[in-house]
């Protein structure tokens, strides 16, 4: 049986873990010396061999991705850390940056050394005021004590970090939209190729990585491949911060080895579901990952096992819902989110979620039509894999998966015009139009 870990979250219980003093006193920045003694390409190989996979959701092997960065293009290489954390249900990076900002900076310095980059950008979710203050403080301290800037720790390595507060758009979590936003443009995804590794920020080779991914790097360099692989599964090794929310007794961030089943995390870390409630459905990695049911609760939470179960590990943001909750209502909530957050660039995502959230409203208002279920099935297929970027795919995940697992609830709504008995109706969900992209009345001229 797996046990909770304290690798990335080791300073969560420290009062001063976020300060440079507290960080260094607990072994922080030790990986720099280890890294600077080795060739950058050897270090990338170590990351590859350690099997680190991206923690932002896609799970792509980080070392392989870093191998795509050209080293002799004559252009500067940039590292862009994605700290936008927009995925519903995800709040791991927030706490990691709040409680241990230097862990991110250490990872950045090591990663930049590996990539032969001299400048990193942190694209921070604009609403993350507190993490931002902690990061600003940490960056200032790191510069002051020579962990950032020119000639870090006398090694001749230069790394500058720029903290950028994002303006608040889910789409900017998409790496190319994030780069456009960093450049001061509208955050909309770019056409690929060229891929950011070759032509990213300002057209320069750029690596975009998630906060948690970068934090892993320092540990791998310092403690080695074998240590790293002692945690997690063969194909998804390492520690993972699971952020659990929803109808559990103690929601929060919990660090476990990759591959720990959801039920174990919920039972042992979260105190189980709320009293009197049974797990009904859950999203394993944020709202963009297909919903699973109680039958899947023992599936190991690693990239491959969750994929085999028909979903995606995503950000490992586990959103747990009980038998008191209507899945249709939950899906309406998410569909509205995607409608609101669609960047508008491509047709299926822009028009599709506009349409489908109205269909959900009708269903829950008692105005559903028998043809609506086929419509939802079909339009899900018409968005999935047809949109410009992954936002469209993510948005149809809850729709399609809920239709697969809970079709009877939909059919009940269509047949009776109301939810099945025992499901709580959440007042306000249906009628709330705040921030909505669908004006009931005319929209003024620009």
């Amino acid at each position: 049986m797996a046990e909770p870990l304290s690798v990335l979250t080791s300073r969560f219980d420290m009062a001063e873990g976020h300060t440079l003093e507290g960080y260094v006193a607990t072994g922080g920045y030790a990986s720099l010396d280890v890294a600077f003694g080795q060739a950058p390409t050897d270090l990338v190989q170590q990351v590859k061999d350690a099997g680190l996979r991206g923690r932002g959701g896609a799970g792509f092997p980080t070392g392989v991705k870093w191998g795509f960065t050209p080293r002799d293009s004559g252009k500067p290489v940039y590292l862009a850390v994605n700290a936008d954390e927009g995925e519903p249900g995800t709040f791991k990076d927030r706490e990691l940056m709040e409680r241990d900002p230097h862990q991110l900076l250490e990872g950045i310095v090591v990663a930049c050394y590996m990539l032969e980059s001299r400048r990193a950008f942190i694209f921070l979710r604009g609403e993350y005021v507190w993490p931002g203050m902690r990061l600003e403080q940490a960056i200032a301290e790191a510069y002051e004590h020579g962990y950032l800037g020119k000639d870090i720790a006398g090694s001749g390595v230069d790394v500058d970090v720029t903290l950028h507060y994002a303006a608040g758009a889910y789409i900017c979590g998409e790496e190319t939209a994030m780069l456009d936003a960093l450049e001061g443009r509208r955050g909309q995804p770019r056409l690929r190729p060229p891929f950011p590794a070759v032509a990213g920020l300002y057209g320069m080779p750029t690596q975009v990585n998630n906060v948690e991914t970068i934090m892993n790097v320092g540990h791998i360099v310092q403690h080695g491949i074998d240590w790293y692989r002692s945690m997690g599964t063969d194909k998804s090794p390492g520690p993972k911060v699971f952020c659990v929310s929803g109808e559990v007794a103690r929601p929060g961030n919990y660090e476990w080895p990759m591959g720990t089943p959801a039920r174990e995390i919920v039972d042992r870390s979260c105190g189980g579901m709320l009293a009197g409630r049974e797990l009904k459905f859950w999203a394993p990695g944020g709202s963009s990952t297909p919903l699973l049911t109680a039958d899947h609760a023992d599936t190991p939470m690693d990239f491959d096992s969750i994929a085999a179960a028909g979903s995606l590990l995503g950000t490992a943001a586990m959103m747990m819902y009980s038998d008191h909750t209507s899945v249709v209502e939950a899906v309406l909530n998410w569909t509205r989110f995607y409608e609101h957050e669609s960047c508008g660039k491509c047709t299926p995502c822009r028009e599709g979620f506009f349409w489908l959230s109205q269909v959900y409203e009708r269903l829950l208002d008692g105005r559903g039509r028998p043809a609506d279920l086929a419509l939802l099935d079909e339009q899900g297929d018409n968005i999935l894999g047809r949109a410009f970027c992954a936002l469209g795919d993510g948005g149809v995940s809850p729709i399609t998966s809920s239709l697969t697992h809970f079709r009877d609830e939909y059919e009940h709504l269509v047949a009776h015009g109301r939810l099945p008995d025992g499901l709580e109706a959440h007042a306000g969900v249906v009628t709330d139009n705040s921030g909505h992209s669908r004006p009931d009345q005319l929209v003024g001229s620009p």
Binding site: R186, S342, G344, F354, S437, P439, V443
Partner: protein, 819 residues
């Protein structure tokens, strides 16, 4: 694409074909006759893959790919909607999505009948909509400029318009705003969409979201008759599609000619056609006759009166008593006809089409250029270095500006501007060799290696010697500067470059080729070596005649007693309006052939109505030397005739006969003598080197407090005869301003935005001031044709050809106030 480019083999719907590497799937499919539906795709815009309409199935790809952004690879197997159910379903779905928020107001939409959304919905879309919910609605329409209205409800957000503005014309302030289903095309609230090319976004809009004020609710596409045309506004030679209904032009669109204007044109060419139907049009012959005032009459009486007037002068004074002026707006056939009328019919060499200020050697260079083939648009686009002197392409030949911008954007072409003002080349210029007005010849000579270069010009000179392909573009204005036109030609010869003389008006190059200049016969032949011309014509004058200034001065002095004006308004266009008035008032017989009533036609004794280019066949020659024939789009409304025909009838009235029956007769005869089998590069190589005193400025520098007046004509001017009635277009015209360097403005205590009075030896005019680093110190740029007081009125009446020097001050009223 270079000819040796690698080819790859791709299969589309089972048909194998080889295409150059880098070809997009959608383009490859077109080659086998498969049209994949699309909205955002446009062959001249960068792919954006936003509308998702062109999804196709590609073997080995796990999901459908957008054909507009996917590059073919060797062995790729593509299945479109014709052979793949997946692709067909995906495409149908996009159309259904696009239509849910579309108002489906086709019956009242201007695009109905020629709408890609309508057509593709019909061809590929679902017959019924499953959308029963609420559509997005907007206030409509929104005026994004005086010319263009935006109906956001109809928009499919393909971003063609915004990409055109960014990628092609480089004009800001039309962008996508907001996100999700509220994403919309919008403008910056304080600033409308400013562009000389705005009409193109209407044409490329795949729905009825962007409409032109000149065409809204005017017609239905299926009621229109379309004729190809060639724009009559400038020497760019944009191909047009002229859409007419019941004999009236409803709109003009850019015609596709990838060698000339590609798929674009400027707003002047697109929207500047209201004059054709304008009330000021001259529709019938007029004569003074015994009434002593102009009145409508028959052609017979008018021609008789004209013949009598000309005959009397010829008899009493001889051919030297007659002067012929034409403008830069005649078709090639007309220019030739007028050239022959003057020499053969009237026996005089007093003929000129150039009413602009210039120096002596211009005629020699133009005679060399006449009838030759110059560099083409493609040559300009593919040159490594382009030297631009005396020319602001965006203001004077807008489509040339787009080509230069394309080369700059795609290839970082090195564009070198030479002169006192950088103007709109600022965005694309690699170097600006800032040169005081009048000193261009020395700068150009230095670049040619004939003299030491300054610091800035040193790397330009290096670039010119090291570059593979160089083109020198010399504007019409360059000849105002002593020796400059010759120096530009010499620079081209010295560096092995191509050379082009780039005039503003559509008929200017044809006039050069036809020999509408004293001492120059068709094809640039000299009077003493007429060659083939002597065989075509009954007679050729032996004595060189007077140029435009000489003709007008002679007429004012009584030496020239009969003036024939063909398509020219000297009172408006001649650099010295006072002299033009005097000449026309003094001449005993003034015969004017024109399209409109103008300030000059009031002096006419006989006034003959000419047909507009759209009302007749003809051809215009581009600045490249490319002759482009065009058919008749609408019939003349009353008694208008073609200028060549009028010329032939005038010849007959004085006893000559040219034997022409149709425009084709004229074109055939003209071609034999106007065209030379030579390139411009070869022709100018024979010119004598420029006679430039390299040590010192050609003109004495201005006295303290004086500024050199640099005149630049703007594209849109309320005073333009051919913009009469194009009110919405004129509403987009930038305000005419005087522009000067920041240092000069500071010294004079003037600030940008305020009105200034520009005082020359002969007069003054007041207009707002702009301050710009793009003007060399010591010069002020003035709009040539845009104010009520033409710059020519500022010149010294006793020495009108002297370089114009002006003083700038606050307007008198303001001075009084502050005192």
């Amino acid at each position: 694409m270079s000819p040796q480019a690698e080819t790859v083999t791709v299969t589309i719907d089972g048909i194998e074909l080889a295409v150059p590497a880098g070809t997009l799937v959608i383009r490859a499919a077109e080659q086998v006759g498969v049209t994949i539906p699309r909205f955002c795709d446009h062959p001249l815009l960068d792919p954006v893959a936003a509308c998702r309409q062109c999804l196709v199935e590609i073997e080995g790809m796990r999901k459908p790919m957008t054909a507009c952004s996917t590059v073919v690879t060797d062995g790729m197997d593509v299945r479109t909607h014709l052979t793949s159910e997946t692709a067909a379903v995906a495409q149908r779905a996009q159309l259904e999505f696009l239509l849910i928020n579309h108002p489906l107001d086709c019956p009242q939409c201007d695009k109905g009948g020629e709408c890609p959304l309508q057509d593709q919905a019909l061809a590929h879309g679902p017959a019924n909509s499953r959308f029963v919910d609420q559509k997005r609605s907007y206030v409509k329409p929104v005026a994004i400029s005086p010319l263009i209205a935006l109906d956001r409800e109809r928009c499919v957000l393909c971003a063609r318009c915004t990409r055109f503005a960014q990628q092609i014309s480089g004009d800001p302030f039309i962008e996508l705003f907001e996100r999700g289903a509220l994403e919309q095309v919008a403008i910056y609230e304080d600033d409308p969409y400013h562009s000389y090319f705005s009409g193109n976004i209407v044409q490329i809009c795949p729905v009825g979201a962007l409409t032109a004020s000149t065409y809204r609710f005017r017609s239905r596409p299926f009621d229109l008759r379309s004729t190809s045309g060639v724009c009559n506004h400038c020497s760019a030679g944009c191909n047009l599609r002229v859409d007419t209904r019941r004999g009236h032009i409803q709109r003009q669109l850019a015609g596709e000619n990838m060698a000339v204007n590609e798929m674009w044109n400027c707003d002047k060419g697109r929207f500047g056609f209201a004059w054709v139907d304008h009330e000021q049009r001259l529709r019938a012959p007029h004569t003074r006759g015994s009434w002593q005032r102009l009145h409508p009459t028959s052609w017979r009486e008018a021609l008789t009166d004209a013949g009598e007037g000309l005959g009397r002068v010829l008899e009493e004074t001889g051919p030297q008593g007659v002067g012929v002026l034409s403008g830069g707006r005649l078709t090639d056939e007309d220019a030739y006809a007028v050239s022959r009328l003057a020499r053969d019919g009237l026996g005089t060499d007093n003929v000129d089409f150039r009413l602009w200020p210039r120096t002596e050697e211009e005629g020699e260079v133009l005679a060399a250029v006449a009838g030759t083939r110059g560099p083409s648009y493609d040559d300009v686009e593919h040159a490594d270095v382009v030297v631009v002197a005396g020319l602001d392409p965006r203001e004077e030949v807008p489509i040339l500006h787009l080509r230069l911008r394309k080369a700059w954007r795609n290839r970082r072409q090195r564009i070198v501007a030479v002169g006192p003002a950088l103007g709109s080349l600022a965005e694309v210029a690699w170097r600006w060799v800032a040169t005081p007005a009048g000193d261009e010849a020395r700068t150009l000579a230095a670049l040619a290696g004939d003299a030491a270069t300054g610091e800035l010009a040193a790397d330009v000179a290096d670039a010119l010697t090291g570059a593979g392909k160089v083109v020198v573009l010399a504007g019409e204005r360059l000849a105002r500067s002593p020796g400059a036109l010759r120096a530009a030609a010499r620079l081209a010869t010295a560096t092995g470059a191509d050379f082009a003389w780039v005039p503003r008006r559509a008929g200017a190059r044809g006039a050069v080729d036809a020999g509408l200049m004293p001492g120059v016969l068709p094809g640039g032949r000299r009077l003493d070596e007429p060659g083939a011309v002597a065989r075509q014509w009954h007679r050729v004058p032996t004595e060189p005649g007077a140029d435009a200034r000489g003709i007008l001065a002679n007429a004012a002095a009584g030496g020239i007693r009969a003036l024939l004006l063909v398509g020219v308004d000297p009172v408006r266009d001649f650099e010295d309006p006072r002299l033009a008035h005097a000449a026309l008032a003094a001449a005993e017989t003034v015969i004017a052939v024109d399209l409109m009533h103008t300030a000059s036609t009031r002096y006419a004794d006989v006034l003959l109505p000419a047909a507009a280019p759209q009302e007749r066949v003809g051809s215009f020659t581009t600045w490249e030397g490319r002759r482009q024939p065009f058919p008749q789009a609408v019939p003349p409304q009353r008694l208008e005739q073609q200028d060549w025909d009028i010329a032939a009838q005038l010849a007959r009235a004085v006893g000559g006969d040219f034997g022409w029956e149709t425009a084709m007769d004229v074109r055939g005869e003209a071609a034999a003598v106007m065209d030379r089998d030579a390139t411009t590069r070869e022709a100018i190589a024979a010119l004598a080197p420029a006679d430039v005193a390299l040590g010192q400025p050609a003109v004495a520098p201005p006295e303290s407090g004086e500024l050199d007046a640099v005149t630049v004509d703007h594209l849109l001017s309320t005073r333009s005869t051919l913009l009469a009635g194009a009110d919405d277009l004129l509403a987009t015209a930038p305000t005419p301003r005087a522009v000067m360097a920041p240092g000069d403005a500071q010294q004079l205590g003037l600030t940008a935005g305020q009105d200034v009075t520009v005082t020359g030896p002969g007069g003054a005019l007041t207009l707002p001031l702009a301050v710009s680093e793009r003007v060399v110190a010591g010069s002020v740029v003035l709009p040539g044709n845009a104010t009520d007081a033409p710059v020519g009125t500022l010149a010294d009446p006793n020495d009108p050809t002297a370089r114009l020097r002006v003083r700038l001050s606050k307007p008198a009223a303001e001075l009084e106030e502050s005192a």
